[in-house]
Protein backbone atom coordinates (compact mmCIF):
# COMPACT_ATOMS: atom_id res chain seq x y z
CA UNK A 1 0.00 0.00 0.00
CA UNK A 2 1.12 3.54 -0.60
CA UNK A 3 1.01 4.38 3.09
CA UNK A 4 1.50 2.26 6.19
CA UNK A 5 -1.56 3.89 7.69
CA UNK A 6 -3.66 2.08 5.07
CA UNK A 7 -2.12 -1.21 6.18
CA UNK A 8 -2.99 -0.26 9.75
CA UNK A 9 -6.59 0.39 8.75
CA UNK A 10 -6.79 -2.97 7.01
CA UNK A 11 -5.26 -5.00 9.87
CA UNK A 12 -7.34 -3.25 12.52
CA UNK A 13 -10.53 -4.02 10.58
CA UNK A 14 -9.61 -7.70 11.06
CA UNK A 15 -9.47 -7.07 14.81
CA UNK A 16 -12.94 -5.58 14.96
CA UNK A 17 -14.25 -8.38 12.73
CA UNK A 18 -12.82 -10.83 15.25
CA UNK A 19 -15.02 -9.23 17.87
CA UNK A 20 -12.31 -7.25 19.68
CA UNK A 21 -13.62 -4.82 22.29
CA UNK A 22 -10.19 -3.19 22.60
CA UNK A 23 -7.58 -2.78 19.88
CA UNK A 24 -4.23 -1.12 20.53
CA UNK A 25 -2.25 0.52 17.76
CA UNK A 26 1.30 1.24 18.88
CA UNK A 27 3.92 2.94 16.72
CA UNK A 28 7.45 3.30 18.06
CA UNK A 29 10.00 5.20 16.05
CA UNK A 30 13.57 5.13 17.26
CA UNK A 31 16.66 6.05 15.24
CA UNK A 32 16.17 4.31 11.89
CA UNK A 33 13.41 1.87 12.85
CA UNK A 34 9.64 1.99 13.05
CA UNK A 35 7.91 -0.71 15.03
CA UNK A 36 4.19 -1.19 14.49
CA UNK A 37 2.21 -3.28 16.93
CA UNK A 38 -1.50 -3.97 16.61
CA UNK A 39 -2.91 -5.96 19.49
CA UNK A 40 -6.52 -6.94 20.09
CA UNK A 41 -8.63 -8.98 22.48
CA UNK A 42 -10.69 -10.55 19.69
CA UNK A 43 -11.47 -14.22 19.22
CA UNK A 44 -7.93 -15.08 18.09
CA UNK A 45 -6.96 -17.81 15.66
CA UNK A 46 -6.26 -21.52 15.87
CA UNK A 47 -2.66 -22.60 15.34
CA UNK A 48 -3.58 -23.97 11.94
CA UNK A 49 -5.07 -20.68 10.71
CA UNK A 50 -2.20 -18.75 12.25
CA UNK A 51 0.33 -20.79 10.27
CA UNK A 52 -1.34 -19.86 7.00
CA UNK A 53 -2.12 -16.26 7.77
CA UNK A 54 0.70 -14.76 5.72
CA UNK A 55 0.03 -17.06 2.78
CA UNK A 56 -2.21 -15.03 0.48
CA UNK A 57 -3.90 -18.15 -0.88
CA UNK A 58 -4.76 -19.47 2.51
CA UNK A 59 -6.74 -16.34 3.17
CA UNK A 60 -8.27 -15.75 -0.27
CA UNK A 61 -9.43 -19.33 -0.60
CA UNK A 62 -11.44 -19.57 2.63
CA UNK A 63 -15.00 -18.37 2.97
CA UNK A 64 -14.00 -16.13 5.86
CA UNK A 65 -12.15 -13.73 3.67
CA UNK A 66 -9.36 -12.19 5.75
CA UNK A 67 -7.87 -10.38 2.79
CA UNK A 68 -4.41 -9.50 1.66
CA UNK A 69 -3.75 -7.31 4.70
CA UNK A 70 -1.17 -9.45 6.49
CA UNK A 71 0.68 -10.69 3.37
CA UNK A 72 1.07 -7.12 2.16
CA UNK A 73 2.19 -5.81 5.56
CA UNK A 74 4.76 -8.61 5.74
CA UNK A 75 6.02 -7.70 2.27
CA UNK A 76 6.21 -4.00 3.17
CA UNK A 77 8.27 -4.79 6.29
CA UNK A 78 10.56 -7.30 4.59
CA UNK A 79 11.23 -4.91 1.70
CA UNK A 80 12.97 -2.62 4.19
CA UNK A 81 14.98 -5.47 5.73
CA UNK A 82 12.56 -5.85 8.63
CA UNK A 83 10.05 -8.53 9.53
CA UNK A 84 6.49 -9.19 10.59
CA UNK A 85 5.27 -11.70 13.14
CA UNK A 86 1.83 -12.67 14.32
CA UNK A 87 0.93 -14.24 17.64
CA UNK A 88 -2.56 -15.34 18.53
CA UNK A 89 -4.46 -17.09 21.29
CA UNK A 90 -7.79 -18.54 20.29
CA UNK A 91 -10.88 -18.09 22.43
CA UNK A 92 -11.26 -21.87 22.33
CA UNK A 93 -7.85 -22.32 23.95
CA UNK A 94 -8.12 -19.58 26.56
CA UNK A 95 -11.63 -18.18 27.10
CA UNK A 96 -10.28 -15.25 29.13
CA UNK A 97 -6.97 -14.09 27.66
CA UNK A 98 -7.43 -14.39 23.91
CA UNK A 99 -6.58 -12.15 21.00
CA UNK A 100 -4.07 -11.44 18.27
CA UNK A 101 -0.86 -9.43 18.17
CA UNK A 102 0.71 -8.31 14.91
CA UNK A 103 4.18 -6.82 15.12
CA UNK A 104 6.08 -5.37 12.18
CA UNK A 105 9.52 -3.80 12.13
CA UNK A 106 10.55 -1.41 9.38
CA UNK A 107 13.90 0.18 8.61
CA UNK A 108 13.04 3.75 7.74
CA UNK A 109 16.36 4.40 6.01
CA UNK A 110 15.57 1.77 3.38
CA UNK A 111 14.68 3.21 0.00
CA UNK A 112 11.71 0.82 -0.10
CA UNK A 113 10.28 2.06 3.20
CA UNK A 114 6.60 2.92 2.81
CA UNK A 115 5.82 6.25 4.51
CA UNK A 116 3.53 6.10 7.52
CA UNK A 117 1.09 8.54 5.95
CA UNK A 118 -1.92 10.08 7.64
CA UNK A 119 -2.27 7.93 10.72
CA UNK A 120 -4.54 10.43 12.47
CA UNK A 121 -7.13 10.05 9.71
CA UNK A 122 -6.81 6.30 10.00
CA UNK A 123 -7.51 6.38 13.73
CA UNK A 124 -10.48 8.74 13.23
CA UNK A 125 -11.86 6.52 10.45
CA UNK A 126 -11.62 3.50 12.74
CA UNK A 127 -13.43 5.24 15.59
CA UNK A 128 -16.09 6.56 13.23
CA UNK A 129 -16.71 3.12 11.76
CA UNK A 130 -16.66 1.28 15.09
CA UNK A 131 -17.99 3.67 17.75
CA UNK A 132 -18.79 0.85 20.18
CA UNK A 133 -15.28 -0.64 20.06
CA UNK A 134 -12.41 0.83 22.06
CA UNK A 135 -9.10 1.85 20.57
CA UNK A 136 -5.84 2.77 22.24
CA UNK A 137 -3.44 4.62 19.98
CA UNK A 138 0.10 5.52 20.95
CA UNK A 139 2.78 6.97 18.73
CA UNK A 140 6.22 7.50 20.20
CA UNK A 141 9.04 9.15 18.31
CA UNK A 142 12.42 9.18 19.97
CA UNK A 143 15.30 10.84 18.20
CA UNK A 144 17.85 13.56 18.69
CA UNK A 145 15.75 16.37 17.26
CA UNK A 146 12.51 15.73 19.08
CA UNK A 147 10.75 13.35 21.42
CA UNK A 148 7.08 13.04 20.66
CA UNK A 149 4.46 11.06 22.53
CA UNK A 150 0.96 11.00 21.14
CA UNK A 151 -1.75 9.07 22.95
CA UNK A 152 -5.44 8.50 22.56
CA UNK A 153 -7.63 6.16 24.58
CA UNK A 154 -11.29 5.98 23.61
CA UNK A 155 -12.13 4.42 26.99
CA UNK A 156 -11.23 7.71 28.67
CA UNK A 157 -13.10 9.77 26.08
CA UNK A 158 -16.14 7.53 26.41
CA UNK A 159 -16.20 8.12 30.17
CA UNK A 160 -16.16 11.90 29.74
CA UNK A 161 -18.79 11.85 26.99
CA UNK A 162 -21.28 10.08 29.26
CA UNK A 163 -23.37 8.34 26.60
CA UNK A 164 -22.71 10.56 23.60
CA UNK A 165 -21.72 8.25 20.71
CA UNK A 166 -18.05 8.48 19.66
CA UNK A 167 -18.99 8.81 16.00
CA UNK A 168 -20.83 12.11 16.43
CA UNK A 169 -19.29 14.58 14.01
CA UNK A 170 -18.23 17.02 16.75
CA UNK A 171 -16.62 14.23 18.77
CA UNK A 172 -14.59 12.94 15.81
CA UNK A 173 -13.53 16.51 14.96
CA UNK A 174 -12.46 17.04 18.54
CA UNK A 175 -10.49 13.78 18.62
CA UNK A 176 -8.72 14.74 15.38
CA UNK A 177 -7.73 18.13 16.79
CA UNK A 178 -6.73 16.64 20.13
CA UNK A 179 -4.36 14.16 18.46
CA UNK A 180 -2.96 16.69 16.00
CA UNK A 181 -2.22 19.10 18.86
CA UNK A 182 -0.12 16.43 20.53
CA UNK A 183 1.95 16.07 17.36
CA UNK A 184 2.59 19.78 17.09
CA UNK A 185 3.72 19.85 20.73
CA UNK A 186 3.16 22.50 23.41
CA UNK A 187 2.63 25.92 21.85
CA UNK A 188 4.47 28.91 23.32
CA UNK A 189 1.39 30.90 24.13
CA UNK A 190 2.01 31.44 27.84
Amino acid sequence: MKELSLNILDITENSTKAGATLTSILIDEEENTLRLTIEDNGSGMSEEILRGVTDPFYTTRTTRKVGMGLPLLKLAAEQTGGFMKVESVSKDVDPVHHGTKVEALFYQDSIDFTPLGDVVSTVCTLIQGHPDTDFYFRHRILNQQKDVLVELDTRQIREVLDGVPLNEYEVIKWIEEYVNEQYSGPQDTE
Binding site: K2, P56, T60, L75
Partner: protein
Amino acid sequence: MKVSELINNGFEMITLPDGDREIDGVYIGDLLSWVMGRARQDNAWITIMSNINVIAVATLADTACVILAENVDLPEDVKAQAEIKDVNVLKSPLPIYETAVRLKELLS
Protein backbone atom coordinates in the same frame (compact mmCIF):
# COMPACT_ATOMS: atom_id res chain seq x y z
CA MET B 1 -3.68 -12.74 -28.96
CA LYS B 2 -3.16 -15.85 -26.86
CA VAL B 3 -0.63 -15.88 -24.05
CA SER B 4 1.16 -18.84 -25.63
CA GLU B 5 1.76 -16.83 -28.81
CA LEU B 6 4.07 -14.46 -26.90
CA ILE B 7 6.56 -17.24 -26.39
CA ASN B 8 9.47 -17.08 -28.84
CA ASN B 9 8.34 -13.55 -29.69
CA GLY B 10 10.65 -11.97 -27.17
CA PHE B 11 9.03 -13.59 -24.15
CA GLU B 12 10.13 -16.67 -22.30
CA MET B 13 7.83 -19.08 -20.51
CA ILE B 14 8.10 -19.56 -16.76
CA THR B 15 4.71 -21.20 -16.22
CA LEU B 16 1.99 -21.74 -18.80
CA PRO B 17 -0.91 -23.65 -17.26
CA ASP B 18 -3.50 -21.73 -19.34
CA GLY B 19 -1.71 -20.79 -22.58
CA ASP B 20 -4.91 -20.41 -24.64
CA ARG B 21 -6.00 -17.44 -22.58
CA GLU B 22 -6.61 -14.32 -24.71
CA ILE B 23 -4.86 -11.08 -23.73
CA ASP B 24 -6.95 -7.93 -23.64
CA GLY B 25 -4.94 -4.85 -22.71
CA VAL B 26 -1.86 -4.30 -20.56
CA TYR B 27 -1.36 -3.08 -17.00
CA ILE B 28 1.94 -2.06 -15.43
CA GLY B 29 2.65 -1.74 -11.73
CA ASP B 30 4.77 -2.96 -8.82
CA LEU B 31 2.77 -1.80 -5.81
CA LEU B 32 0.63 -4.87 -5.33
CA SER B 33 -2.24 -3.30 -3.41
CA TRP B 34 -2.52 -0.71 -6.17
CA VAL B 35 -2.46 -3.28 -8.95
CA MET B 36 -5.05 -5.38 -7.11
CA GLY B 37 -7.66 -2.68 -7.53
CA ARG B 38 -6.72 -1.46 -11.01
CA ALA B 39 -5.52 -4.24 -13.28
CA ARG B 40 -8.44 -5.48 -15.35
CA GLN B 41 -9.50 -8.98 -16.20
CA ASP B 42 -7.54 -10.45 -19.14
CA ASN B 43 -4.79 -7.82 -18.94
CA ALA B 44 -1.17 -8.80 -19.37
CA TRP B 45 0.42 -7.45 -16.19
CA ILE B 46 4.04 -6.29 -16.37
CA THR B 47 5.96 -6.05 -13.10
CA ILE B 48 9.37 -6.63 -11.55
CA MET B 49 7.93 -8.08 -8.33
CA SER B 50 8.22 -11.84 -7.95
CA ASN B 51 7.01 -12.92 -4.53
CA ILE B 52 4.04 -15.15 -3.77
CA ASN B 53 1.71 -12.17 -3.40
CA VAL B 54 2.11 -11.48 -7.13
CA ILE B 55 0.42 -14.80 -7.88
CA ALA B 56 -2.38 -13.95 -5.43
CA VAL B 57 -2.94 -10.54 -7.04
CA ALA B 58 -2.94 -12.10 -10.54
CA THR B 59 -5.61 -14.51 -9.32
CA LEU B 60 -7.72 -11.79 -7.66
CA ALA B 61 -7.52 -9.41 -10.63
CA ASP B 62 -7.89 -12.38 -13.02
CA THR B 63 -5.17 -11.18 -15.36
CA ALA B 64 -4.33 -13.23 -18.48
CA CYS B 65 -0.67 -13.45 -17.52
CA VAL B 66 2.11 -11.93 -15.45
CA ILE B 67 5.13 -10.69 -17.37
CA LEU B 68 8.33 -10.26 -15.36
CA ALA B 69 10.53 -7.61 -16.93
CA GLU B 70 14.33 -7.26 -16.77
CA ASN B 71 14.81 -11.04 -16.62
CA VAL B 72 13.40 -11.27 -13.12
CA ASP B 73 12.78 -14.93 -12.25
CA LEU B 74 10.31 -16.66 -9.97
CA PRO B 75 11.59 -18.51 -6.92
CA GLU B 76 10.82 -22.26 -7.21
CA ASP B 77 8.12 -22.28 -4.52
CA VAL B 78 6.33 -19.34 -6.14
CA LYS B 79 6.57 -21.03 -9.52
CA ALA B 80 4.95 -24.13 -8.07
CA GLN B 81 2.09 -22.04 -6.67
CA ALA B 82 1.61 -20.33 -10.03
CA GLU B 83 1.19 -23.75 -11.67
CA ILE B 84 -1.31 -24.84 -9.03
CA LYS B 85 -3.33 -21.63 -9.28
CA ASP B 86 -3.34 -21.60 -13.10
CA VAL B 87 -1.38 -18.37 -13.37
CA ASN B 88 0.60 -17.85 -16.58
CA VAL B 89 3.98 -16.24 -15.93
CA LEU B 90 6.37 -15.12 -18.67
CA LYS B 91 9.55 -13.13 -18.57
CA SER B 92 11.23 -10.55 -20.76
CA PRO B 93 14.87 -9.44 -20.77
CA LEU B 94 13.81 -5.86 -21.53
CA PRO B 95 13.06 -3.08 -19.06
CA ILE B 96 9.38 -2.41 -18.36
CA TYR B 97 8.88 0.32 -20.95
CA GLU B 98 10.50 -1.66 -23.77
CA THR B 99 8.57 -4.76 -22.69
CA ALA B 100 5.35 -2.76 -23.00
CA VAL B 101 6.36 -1.44 -26.42
CA ARG B 102 7.10 -4.98 -27.61
CA LEU B 103 3.68 -6.10 -26.35
CA LYS B 104 2.03 -3.20 -28.14
CA GLU B 105 3.63 -4.29 -31.42
CA LEU B 106 2.47 -7.87 -30.95
CA LEU B 107 -1.04 -7.02 -29.76
CA SER B 108 -1.89 -4.53 -32.51
